[in-house]
Amino acid sequence: MSEEHVVIIGNGPAGNQAAMSIRENDPEVRITLISRESGACCRPHLFPDLIAGKIPEEALYACPIDAYQERGIKLRTGQEVVRLNPEERVLMLEHKEVVRFTGLIIAVGGRPRIPEPLLVFQDLMFTLKTLRDAKAWVKRLSEVESVLIMGGDLPSLALTKALLEMGKKITFLFNEDAFWPLRCDDALFEEVGERFSLKGVEVLANRPVKSIARKSEETYEIEVDGRKVEAGMIGAFFGLVPDIRFLAGCGLRIDRGILVDEFLNTGFEGVYATGDCAQIYHPEIRDYWVSIGHDNAVALGHIAAQNLTGGKMQAVMPLESIFEVKGIKVNTSWWMEF
């Protein structure tokens, strides 16, 4: 093993791909992959299939957990980075362990966003970001027949399809800022609503939630714009926010995500950010864009790995695949799936 030590924070699709690509490029370098979640890398776009019982849990994993060991990648699960000093090239874990690195890729992804007015009801809502979340959905769905979905981001559309197949009664509280960090335009908003209505989903568009109360073990009562709706569980789907609070004050440039150049470099030598947590500079449009979706994340993870190991690969998506809504430029590999 060389003295080089590459650390990747986050084992989502981007981080996982970054680790694998680095190993392909350099069979000797020491690689540590730190993940807050337990287990191997999941493909979260398959969660709806898991919930619907179409696939077993094993099918979610991008690779089996033994594969990391086989490739000489030290996977550290259930561990959280709480501080970073990119200048000194050290990071600290929650349990006060100091880890030194020569190269770093930040691929922490996002965490479910709950709009501020709804934060008070957070404990009553189910999100769908991690495998643990998915398992919680499976368990609760086995006990209830009706679901209220709030928001309307891309995972919620796939989940709704799965829930319909399961015969669940769905009420969709469709919200125009569900595609955070962008908003639906009116045409899309209407089209989605119509499609769901045709499939038997009760769609309530842009209705503010006034209260949520637990009526019994099986039922919640949601007061929406003067009307009361009952549901066995409530899902919150308002997009993801980059999970980068631990980077506050560390010297990295932060906007909505970590600002990086077209090579995914943060401005510190050997320190890269990739996947959903990065805001990437596009030299042609001279602005930053954000990426959503599994395939994009994998591609960006690969690019970060190439550049960390001496490559010079640009993360420049074709202009036509980047669209702008309300001032924010987005590329999503999921967009066309629905």
């Binding site: 957990i65 259930g78 600290m92 006060k96």
Partner: protein, 586 residues
């Protein structure tokens, strides 16, 4: 086989309260109705250096052996706990201190070294203890609180265990320990969503007799007390010292006496003197002390004086590895000392038998007028098991001394030749039964006599007597389902539990294997052993010694060489090692 089988390790440095935490955990789990088998490993140094590990196995059925696969590791010191990582199962739970007093590097953090399938649960042990009591000393109790919350064990079981241990130390200490435990329980209950296992969901056997948690050392002590022990003489040595400590408290309460002697030679001398005078006495030692006793043991053989000696074996030779286990005193116990000095050697295989055989050893010593050696080992002495409260029947307590009858008064021959080899024994002071006792070869009347005929006659008498003891010694017990077996495993001492677990596991897989438990080491039931061997294609004898000491003793009974499994790691024999060896013999 158990539906629940959970092995929990607590690892820390000396001074972390590791052993105390392990004891409380065992007590609580036993209180919750689970079977417990536990063992502590600590360094020879008294404090401040070295790793302490407690290993506990819990289940809903009797635990036969420790497991070499750990399901839960509670790390009180990450640096030390790293050594335990290879024993973790793939999805093990590690409960660790995530707020150590200072920053740590990768080599000091257990989180940096566990495999990715291992589930980490970090808790600020020290901070929570300080919050609860103003001192970080209770961090081991905080960790236990975390365990209780994670595995859904009702706090009451831990509260009871904590009260039992700390109530004698006063309200303040008891209160601090309870608060530390409760703080850990509350914190973990809120912080951790995952519950790896609900231990309280384990079904308990209805109407099961109340079980208590006993160590081998305590069981030996109780056996001796139940036998009516009057005098204990000893010199401290690991792992036998606790026997003297327990007796120092308990024996005077029953009218007996404990005396710490200047060494092991004087200890065995005093034991012989007591029995000579008609009082039940005992000593306990380990290998190095036993070596010092050998001359006087043979004096007991020659002068036909009873004695009870506990040899708590530890790894040797010489001072050896004082805190590590081994079964390497067998040859010394059976053959040690000058001359043909046959004596009785018995070896319990579990805690209940530590009680049973210690109790029995007094009767055997009296009836056969010879030293009886109870061979235990470090693992057996120090492990704790949940077991039925041992009680001695009147028959087990009875005096087995064969006294001379009135017909021989005034012409009493102390060493009279008999068919059984047992000569009625008078106690000094009995009017009309004066005799001479000596370590020199002697006549039936006890007069020194070196003639060839006399020595031959008396040697034969003494050996006839010892061989005759077989009728009172527990015969080997077979655990087999098939008349013919591919492999028969013969084991003794603490290794037997591992052997039986391996054999039961193999039987469950349809393999034709069986086990034979031998507790009478000398004399041994040759015909029973031979019959078992004849039923097996291959015989395997696993032992915690290098030379294969039981194999050397009984191996000749098999028509061909026996297979041996010898380990001198200082650790108990893992069932998996025996199972692995069985597979190679099939």
């Amino acid at each position: 086989m158990s539906s629940v089988d959970l092995t929990v390790e607590i690892c820390g440095m000396s001074g972390d309260g590791t052993i105390a935490a392990g004891g409380l955990l065992n007590e609580a789990m036993s209180g919750a109705g689970l079977s417990v088998l536990a063992f502590d490993s600590y360094p020879a140094e008294i404090r401040g250096f070295g790793r302490c590990v407690t290993l506990s196995r819990f289940g809903d059925e009797e635990m036969l052996a420790l497991s070499d696969k750990t399901h839960v590791l509670i790390s009180l010191d990450d640096k030390e706990s790293r050594s335990r990582i290879p024993y973790l199962v793939k999805d093990a739970v590690v409960l660790y201190d995530n707020r150590p007093p200072s920053y740590v590097t990768e080599d000091q953090a257990i989180a940096a070294h566990v495999d990715p399938g291992v589930r980490l649960f970090g808790m600020p042990f020290g901070d929570l203890a300080a919050e609860a009591t103003g001192s970080t000393r209770g961090r081991n109790l905080v960790a236990l609180g975390g365990f209780a919350a994670l595995f859904e064990v009702a706090p009451q079981f831990f509260h009871e265990a904590i009260k039992k241990k700390f109530a004698p130390k006063g309200e303040k200490i008891l209160g601090a320990n309870l608060k530390s435990f409760d703080r850990g329980y509350q914190y973990a209950g809120k912080k951790f969503e995952e519950r790896p296992l609900n231990l309280l969901s384990i079904p308990k056997a209805a109407g099961e007799e109340k079980r208590v948690l006993l160590s081998g050392n305590v069981a030996i002590t109780r056996g001796a007390l139940d036998a009516g022990l009057k005098l204990y003489f000893g010199y401290p040595i690991t792992p036998a010292t606790p026997i003297m400590e327990y007796l120092a408290k308990a024996l005077p309460e029953r009218g007996g006496r404990v005396m710490q002697m200047e060494d092991e030679i004087s200890s065995i001398g005093a034991v012989l003197g007591s029995f000579f005078a008609g009082q039940r006495a005992m000593t306990a030692t380990s290998g190095p002390g036993f070596a010092l006793m050998t001359e006087l043991i043979t004096h007991g053989v020659m002068a036909e004086i009873p004695a009870v000696i506990i040899d708590a074996q530890r790894a040797g030779p010489a001072t050896g590895l004082p805190t590590k286990t081994e079964q390497s005193d067998l040859q010394a116990a059976v053959f040690g000392g000058p001359g043909d000095s046959a004596r009785i050697v018995i070896a319990p295989t579990n805690v209940a038998e530590c009680h049973e055989y210690t109790l029995k050893s007094f009767q055997l010593a009296e009836k056969y007028q010879t030293p009886v050696i109870v061979l235990s080992d470090f693992f057996l002495n120090n492990r704790v098991e949940s077991t039925s409260m041992p009680r001695a029947s009147d028959g087990e307590i009875a005096d087995w001394t064969l006294y001379p009858d009135g017909s021989v008064k005034d012409h009493y021959l102390r060493y009279r030749i008999t068919e059984s080899g047992i000569s009625p024994r008078a106690i000094p002071g009995m009017d009309g039964y004066l005799f001479n006792a000596t370590g020199l070869e002697h006549t039936e009347g006890g007069i020194p006599d070196y003639s060839p005929a006399n020595h031959t006659k008396m040697t034969e008498k003494r050996h006839r007597k010892i061989q005759g003891a077989l009728q009172d010694l527990p015969p080997p017990k077979a655990f087999s389902r098939d008349e013919g077996m591919d492999v028969g495993v013969i084991a003794w001492g603490s290794t037997f539990g591992s052997a039986l677990e391996a054999v039961l596991g193999a039987q469950k897989k349809g393999l034709k294997v069986g086990a034979l438990k031998i507790t009478s080491i000398f004399p041994y039931h040759a015909e029973v052993i031979r019959t078992f061997m004849d039923r097996c294609k291959e015989i395997l004898i696993p032992e915690l010694n290098y030379e294969g000491q039981l194999s050397n003793l009984i191996g000749h009974l098999h028509g061909k060489d026996v297979a041996r499994l010898n380990r001198v790691t200082g650790l108990p024999m893992p069932a998996s090692a025996i199972y692995g060896k069985i597979e190679t013999l099939l």
